[in-house]
Symmetry: none
Subunit: 222 residues, 2 copies
DNA sequence: TCCTATTGTCACAACTCGGACACAACCGCC
DNA sequence: GGCGGTTGTGTCCGAGTTGTGACAATAGGA
C-alpha cells in the first residue's frame, strides 16, 4: 500500500485528510510540525510528503529544504499562502505541487496519486522507459534496444526497482529489501548473480547498469 | 534544451507562452488543436505537453487519452474549466497537473520545469556544489569544471566531507575520524595520499583544495 | 509425476583500491 | 641561508570487491 506523510498542525484537518486517504487506499502517517516530520522520515520510506507551510518550530519551506538535501521524495505543499511569491519559492526549493486551502479532498487525493505515479516513472499507461530500456508494468514485458526481451520474475522485479530509482545508487541491501523482501535470509551476492543475468538478457542495453564499487548498482541513461 | 508542446487554440496566448518559455530556456512547439498535436507528437519526443481542453476537432481530454495509449510523457492541462469535476476527469485520464486560466506565466513555467525534473527522475535532490565542483549524493557522481569525474569510494567520501565543511580547515585527525572511521589504525599520511589522488581526479578544480601548513586541508571556492 | 525454468550458493578468477614506504620538494623559524 | 619538520609524489602489493561458471535445490507447469 502507498504510504504518505502528512505534516500539518491543525488537528481536525489532519484527521479528515487521513480518514479520506485511508478510505481510498493510501496509508497516512501524521506529524504535527517540521521536526516531527524529519524524525519520521529518518525511519520511513514515504511515497509522498504533504507539507503545510505555516507551522511551529520548523516551517514547511525549511522541511522541504532539509528533505531535498538527500531525497527526491515527491513533496506537495498544502497551505493558506496562495500568493505567487510563495508558490514560486516552493518550486524553487524543489517541491512538486502546491495546493491552497481550502481545497477539495478529492482533488488532493488525485494530485497525490498522480505524483506517486509520476515519481515511479510511469504515466497512467504504466510505461517506463529509460535509455534503450522500456518496461510495461501492466504486461510485465520488457523491451531493450528495440526488441522484446524475456525476463524471469526476479529479473523483472530487479529491473523495475532500478528503473524506478534510475540514476541513483542502490546498495545490495536496499535491493534485497525492495526486491527480495525484508525477510530474505540469504547472501548479498544473490544480487550480483541476478544483475549478471539481467545484464546478459538486456544485451547491449545491459551496459546501462553500472557497478559502483563498494556501494551497489546504478541504472544510467547511457 | 528542453522541448515542450503547447496545444492551444487562442493565438495570442500561444505566442505569449512560447515567448516566455523560450526566454527561460524551454523550446516550445505550437499546435492549434488536438489533431495537429497528435501529428506533431508522432514525429517528436517532447519533454512535456501543455494541453488546453476546449479546442475544435479533438479536445484536450481526447488528446490525453490518445497519448496515454503509448506514452508516459508529462501532461499539464491548461484551461478555463476550473470545476472539480473537470480536474478529476483530467487526473483520471493520467494527467500530471492542472492549471486554470487565468494563470501566472511564472507559475506555469515553474510547474512545467518541476514536472520535467520529476519525469526524468533526476531532480536536484542531493546536489552539493561549490566553485567548479558538483556532487550528487544520490548517484554518487561528481562533476568538476563541467565534466564527469570518476572517483573511488574513498575519494568520494573525502570530497563529500570537505564539501559539507567547505571553507573551514579540517585536520587530518578529523578527516580520519569522519571519513575513515574512528577505528582506523593507520597513518595520518593516508589522508595526504587520498588528497593527492582526489586533486588529480578533479583536474583544474583540484586547486580548490588548499593545504593549511601544520594543520590540515580546506576546500575553497576559488 | 516428470520436466524445465529459475535462482541461490559456492569457488575461483579478475580486478580495484588504498595504505605504506621512500624520497623529493617545500615551508617557516632561527 | 641552513635546518628540522611538513607535505607532495611515484610505486608497489596485499586485501577486499566484483565478475563468472558450475551446480544443486526448488518451484511451477504440463
Amino acid at each position: 500500500m502507498e504510504h504518505v506523510l502528512l505534516v500539518e498542525d491543525e488537528p481536525r484537518l489532519r484527521s479528515i485528510v487521513r480518514d479520506y486517504f485511508s478510505a481510498h487506499g493510501l496509508e497516512c502517517d501524521l506529524a504535527r510540525d517540521g521536526e516531527e516530520a524529519l524524525d519520521l522520515m529518518r525511519d520511513h520510506d514515504y511515497d509522498a510528503i504533504l507539507l503545510d507551510i505555516l507551522m511551529p518550530h520548523l516551517d514547511g519551506f525549511g522541511v522541504c529544504r532539509a528533505v531535498r538535501e538527500n531525497s527526491a521524495v515527491p513533496i506537495l505543499f498544502l497551505t493558506a499562502l496562495g500568493g505567487e511569491e510563495d508558490m514560486l519559492r516552493g518550486y524553487a526549493l524543489g517541491c512538486d505541487d502546491y495546493v491552497t486551502k481550502p481545497f477539495s479532498l478529492a482533488v488532493l487525493l488525485a494530485k497525490t496519486q498522480a505524483l506517486i505515479r509520476r515519481s515511479r516513472g510511469t504515466g497512467e499507461a504504466g510505461l517506463l522507459s529509460w535509455g534503450a530500456i522500456g518496461l510495461n508494468t501492466r504486461s510485465r514485458l520488457c523491451r531493450a534496444g528495440g526488441r522484446e526481451v524475456k525476463l524471469s520474475p526476479r529479473e523483472y522485479d530487479l529491473l523495475l526497482c532500478l528503473m524506478r530509482n534510475r540514476g541513483q545508487v542502490l546498495t545490495r541491501e536496499q535491493l534485497l529489501d525492495k526486491v527480495w523482501g525484508l525477510d530474505f535470509e540469504g547472501d548479498d551476492r544473490a544480487v550480483d548473480t541476478r544483475i549478471r543475468s539481467l545484464r546478459a538478457a538486456l544485451g547491449d542495453a545491459g551496459k546501462q547498469i553500472k557497478t559502483v564499487f563498494k556501494t551497489g548498482y546504478r541504472l544510467e541513461e547511457v
